[in-house]
């Protein structure tokens, strides 16, 4: 399948809507381990992105859209998620430069570059109760499924399942990074809000890909 710039914009808008719907839940999760505002922060960032997307259309390249998303998110939120997702989108934009139509491999490369950006910027390892616990297994699954010859939608579905599993596993982890790390053992039993919003982002994107694919077939 192919993804046009217009489709890409649509996928990003849907992520913003999903985060908006879930923002209270995300803040609720954060109240147990942090300062209770993860949903607010993600909402501020994605609403700013949604507004920025108005400046783009089907003639824009996915690379320029992506870069604008990163810078807009960063300057709307700061925080720790600002630099992490900004780096993700800016790294992702490098893969999509000059393209107004993306093939399946472009999208896979986009996600891998984006998540590598998160890993490098945040320096978190899997198992430290962060968003990496969703992103890292998701990318491993995405690569494995592609190598096994699955199409993009099926590979992304596998990635979402891995992200969900990773997200749930954070409840059993001791927090090692960020403000929640001060809690030590009291962080046990609580699912990480950053891993949860990571799962939501990938899940929303995958839904868009699946609905585009079913429209096309």
């Amino acid at each position: 399948m192919k993804l046009t710039s217009a489709d890409f914009i649509q996928a990003l808008r849907k992520i913003a809507d999903r985060i908006e719907q879930e923002k209270d839940y995300l803040s609720e999760l954060d109240r147990a381990v942090g300062d209770g505002d993860h949903g607010v922060t993600m909402s501020i960032g994605w609403q700013a992105v949604k507004a920025k997307l108005e400046e783009f259309d089907g003639n824009s390249t996915c690379g320029e859209i992506c870069k604008a998303v990163g810078m807009t998110f960063l300057n709307a939120v700061g925080s720790s998620v600002g630099p992490l997702y900004a780096t993700a989108f800016i790294r992702g934009s490098a893969v999509l430069q000059g393209k107004t139509e993306l093939n399946e491999d472009d999208i896979v490369q986009f996600w891998i570059a984006a998540v590598n950006g998160i890993l490098e910027r945040g320096k978190a390892q899997p198992g430290e109760k962060t968003m990496v616990d969703a992103w890292h297994p998701a990318m491993a699954a995405l690569k494995a499924s592609r190598e096994a010859g699955k199409d993009l939608a099926a590979s992304l579905e596998d990635a979402v399942k891995a992200a969900e599993q990773g997200m749930k596993s954070t409840a059993e982890m001791l927090s090692q990074k960020g403000r929640s790390s001060r809690l030590g053992e009291r962080s046990l039993g609580h699912q990480d809000p950053g891993a949860t919003s990571a799962y939501m982002i990938l899940d929303s994107f995958t839904h868009t890909i699946k609905s585009l694919q079913s429209l096309a077939s």
Binding site: S27, R31, D37, S79, P83, L84, G178, S180
Partner: protein, 333 residues
């Protein structure tokens, strides 16, 4: 939760408009980004620029500390969230007077990433930036891992040292040296009595029973490290000091600066009752109190409770703590 606000999404912008209007003698907003607040009268050729910052909700920190003998500029973040690199870079350009700039902030993941990105961008423009991350919160990591600790009320004392050093004409390297030294001898332990309410979620930052207190709170409403029944002030002060002194022993003849910092909704009456016991304990140990600060310096919206900070001072730090300061929300003659 009752708050005197207009719209939850507008609280930071409206606070800044009011702050700058009230204190236009001291501060101005930069035109490109209204979250960039700089001094009107402290930047002068050859003086190291001092920038501190972080999220909103800690007032008087950080913007209330812009002024002579303190800091030259503050990039302002959302509530409890680091500012992005944009306003940090803009403030950096505005306060650089050829001698370089120092960034001071509590050691939080978000602040570290955003300020580092800004420092990198400033470096590309030829502005030399150095950073000292403040790590006074004893409760936030064990003794062997001091560099993982967070900055809380001790921020204020470390800002004070850096601001005084810069005002006295220290070079950037020297400001970094003395500020790092100040950070290394500053320790804080806090107690929370009630949570704060983020105006954007309207929810309490944590739950605490009516007869409970929590030792080791963070300044963002993060839960503490130990919950228990509320105790008399003397016992609480004793417990906080025990933890500080176990981490940074003080002996007879040592000198300390003491800060009893309110978190937002606790009364000055309670601060002074806490200070009273703190002074007694230090006197018993033969520790001389060089100077004291009692009041609200680094708050956490309307969180209830307070913290005790000790800075062990040598002659140089004592002299810098005595240097005058004149800011909208902090004056020392």
């Amino acid at each position: 939760m009752k708050k005197l606000i207009n719209h939850p999404a507008a609280v930071v912008e409206e606070m800044l408009e009011g702050f700058v209007a009230a204190h236009s003698r001291y501060v101005r907003q930069l035109p490109h980004n209204k979250r960039s607040i700089v001094s009107t009268n402290t930047v002068r050729p050859g003086k190291v620029g001092v920038i501190c910052g972080g999220g909103s909700g800690h007032e008087p920190s950080f913007l209330g500390l812009i002024g002579k003998g303190m800091v030259d500029g503050v990039p302002v973040g959302n509530i409890f969230a680091s500012p992005p690199p944009d306003p940090i870079l803009e403030v950096t350009r505005a306060v650089d007077a050829g001698a370089g700039v120092i960034y001071l902030y509590g050691n939080y993941a978000g602040d570290c990433m955003n300020f580092d990105m800004a420092a990198e961008l400033a470096g590309m423009e030829g502005i030399r930036v150095e950073t000292v991350r403040i790590t006074d919160d004893v409760a936030s990591a064990p003794k062997s891992e001091e560099d993982r600790r967070r900055g809380i009320a001790g921020d204020f004392l470390v800002f004070k040292v850096a601001g005084a050093a810069a005002d006295q004409g220290y070079s950037l390297d020297e400001v970094v040296r003395v500020t790092s030294k100040a950070n290394q001898v500053t320790r804080t332990m806090g107690v929370a009595l009630s949570p704060c309410f983020n105006p954007q979620t309207g929810r309490p930052s944590f739950e605490l029973g009516p007869d409970e207190m929590e030792i080791g709170l963070g300044i963002h409403g993060e839960p503490g490290v130990q919950k228990g029944k509320i105790k008399p002030a003397d016992e609480v002060a004793g417990e906080l000091l025990d933890r500080i002194l176990a981490d940074m022993p003080l002996s007879r003849g040592d000198r300390a600066v003491v800060l009893v910092n309110g978190l937002g909704s606790t009364t000055y009456m309670e601060f002074f009752i806490m200070y009273r016991r703190t002074a007694q304990i230090l006197a018993e140990k033969g520790v001389e109190i060089h100077r004291s600060y009692v009041g609200e310096y680094v708050t956490s919206l309307e969180m209830g409770g307070c913290s005790i900070t000790l800075m062990k001072v040598d002659d140089e730090l004592a002299r810098l703590m005595d240097h005058p300061a004149d800011c909208p929300m902090f004056v020392q003659m």
